[in-house]
């Protein structure tokens, strides 16, 4: 054991280990115990023990191994406390064998993170709790932070997480990378969960909320991880590309005084060229597989937007065609709205409005701000000022972000003052 400068050094070492290896340690323990909650508890106790032991006796040469050894003991203690009777002795023996079977003398802890992610995104787990589960188990986010990001009360999020982990244990959900036959569907669920996490981090463009800013970064980190652990899955690369394209535009989404800047008005000079190159590379690698999917198409749309930095305008013809493909794949009203906007760019606002009318009957759109904003924009371009003002009004009332709300109010005011509304959202 090496000695290092007292409390500060020990705390720093513990935090560095957590940052570097938390997901890997939880995944390893969960895989062995077949129980996420027990793994998290045991690891939490191990970290607590480290904060007492390391300042006194120095930081160990292999902090991960030290933590695992302690966590194993804590897990066995916890199991012993939970059970009693004849069943207990047998159970504890099995447990001890399980934990000992990968001896702590390993130099490298086996990486079961992919198995953990697949367990969290298992079909038996409620779709709405998959992303929160991954964020908590892989990244150690607490329920309050996750709840805040997904606009769910902290206590509720806590309960859902507890129930989901109980289900993993009680239903025997496997910690296993799926077989080839199931892989396509299962990967889709994992990618959806990661994208959900990114989308929540996206909703704080100025990065003023530190936890949400980190959320986008963490989602991208998970995207990198899954893409590297599943090198045969083009959709994993597609999702990574999509997130990188979006992240590249973060700095341009708000101007110097914090006002909302729509995509068409963004200054390409503020886009992160390095991230765009990374995104293009990932998208290219995905295309080599010849297996198109939803995330690759969405990433391609982003690519067709940012080409504006080179040729002065987005490639709207390509964008419309890509959305045709996406609509055929997903039948999503959100996609239909974006496709309508693209149609307006290539064939005029009337064509766009016709496309919007085709989805207008979907009840979900009544409370969907982007639908009303798109409608307002196209009505304004058609010269239908009254209807446009009404649509802007709906959009304003449905928008939670004050910067976007302000932007929509400006648009509406300009309309009512008789000035034509220029550009697009």
């Amino acid at each position: 054991m090496t000695a290092q400068g007292g409390d500060q050094g020990a705390r720093g070492a513990a935090e560095a280990t957590a940052r570097r290896s938390y997901g890997k340690l939880v995944a390893f323990l969960a895989h062995r115990l077949r129980d996420v909650a027990a793994a998290e508890d045991a690891l939490a106790e191990a970290f607590a023990a480290a904060l007492v032991d390391w300042p006194a006796r120095g930081v160990p040469d292999n902090p991960e191994a030290w933590l695992l050894t302690v966590a194993r003991r804590k897990a066995i203690d916890a199991a012993r406390r939970r059970r009693s009777g004849a069943d207990a002795a047998r159970h504890l023996r099995l447990l001890a064998e399980e934990l000992a079977s990968s001896a702590g003398r390993e130099a490298e802890i086996p990486d079961h993170r992919l198995a953990l992610i697949f367990a969290c995104a298992h079909p038996a787990i409620d779709p709405g709790v998959r992303a929160p589960l991954i964020l908590q188990t892989m990244l150690g986010f607490d329920a309050a932070t996750i709840g805040s990001a997904f606009l769910i009360a902290p206590a509720t999020m806590g309960q859902r997480l507890v129930r989901a982990k109980a289900k993993i244990r009680e239903a025997g959900i496997p910690f296993r990378v799926p077989e080839r036959a199931d892989m396509a569907d299962r990967v889709e669920a994992v990618l959806e969960a990661i994208y959900a996490a990114y989308a929540e981090g996206w909703s704080d463009p100025a990065g003023t909320e530190a936890r949400l800013r980190n959320l986008a970064g963490e989602a991208i980190w998970l995207g990198h991880l899954v893409a590297s652990l599943l090198p045969e899955e083009p959709e994993a690369l597609g999702l990574l590309a999509l997130m990188l394209f979006a992240e590249a535009r973060r700095a341009a989404r708000r101007n110097a005084v914090g006002e909302y800047v729509p995509l068409a008005d963004q200054d390409p000079g503020l886009w992160d060229g390095r991230l765009i190159e990374e995104a293009e590379a990932a998208l290219y690698r995905a295309s080599r597989f010849g297996r198109v999917g939803r995330y690759q198409l969405e990433a391609a749309v982003q690519s067709a937007h940012v080409v504006r930095r080179r040729i002065g305008s987005a490639d709207w013809v390509a964008i419309e065609r890509l959305y045709d493909g996406l609509l055929a794949l997903t039948d999503s009203p959100v996609v239909a709205i974006n496709r309508a906007i693209a149609a307006a760019e290539t064939r005029g606002p009337a064509a766009g409005l016709r496309a919007l009318d085709a989805v207008a009957r979907d009840a979900r759109l009544a409370e969907y701000q982007p639908y009303w904003a798109a409608r307002a924009e196209l009505l304004a371009r058609s010269g239908n000022v009254d209807a446009a003002a009404e649509a802007y009004q709906r959009a304003i009332g449905l928008e939670a972000d004050p910067a976007v709300r302000h932007f929509l109010q400006q648009r509406r005011n300009a309309l009512c003052r008789g000035k034509p509304a220029g550009g697009r959202d």
């Binding site: 009360a153 009544a366 709906r394 009332g397 109010q409």
Partner: protein, 115 residues
């Protein structure tokens, strides 16, 4: 399920607003109320007058005590409320986030007591 959205904000901040900002805020509330109505969620709501127009009433030992001013001096004061009817808490929180008051004050979301 019915919920009450209680809007708390610092009143002196309101007084300090430029007219254009105050107008914009009112316009945002109008749009918000309209949106809730069209979504079928709105049951009721009102804006309240300033906290210094409050009178407090307590009855103790058979005597009615009337005091000038609000129940407690707080940094943020109750400025208004909405009564909504939505499927679940998530929906209520979604509306609370859209309330203009959420961006400069605090929205309390409370379920209505049911038997």
């Amino acid at each position: 399920m019915k919920y009450m959205l209680l809007i708390y904000s610092n009143e002196s901040q309101w007084q300090g607003l430029a007219k254009s900002e105050a107008d914009q805020r009112m316009a945002a509330y109008m749009a918000y109320t309209e949106a809730m109505t069209k979504a079928g969620a709105l049951v009721g709501g009102d804006r309240l007058q300033r906290a210094d127009t409050t009178t407090t009433v307590r009855v103790a030992n058979g005597k009615t005590n009337v005091l000038n001013g609000p129940y407690a001096e707080t940094r943020e004061q109750l400025g208004g409320y909405y009564l909504i009817d939505v499927p679940d808490l998530d929906a209520a929180l979604s509306w609370a986030a859209r309330c203009p008051g959420a961006s400069y004050g605090t929205i309390e979301v409370r379920p209505i007591w049911t038997i």
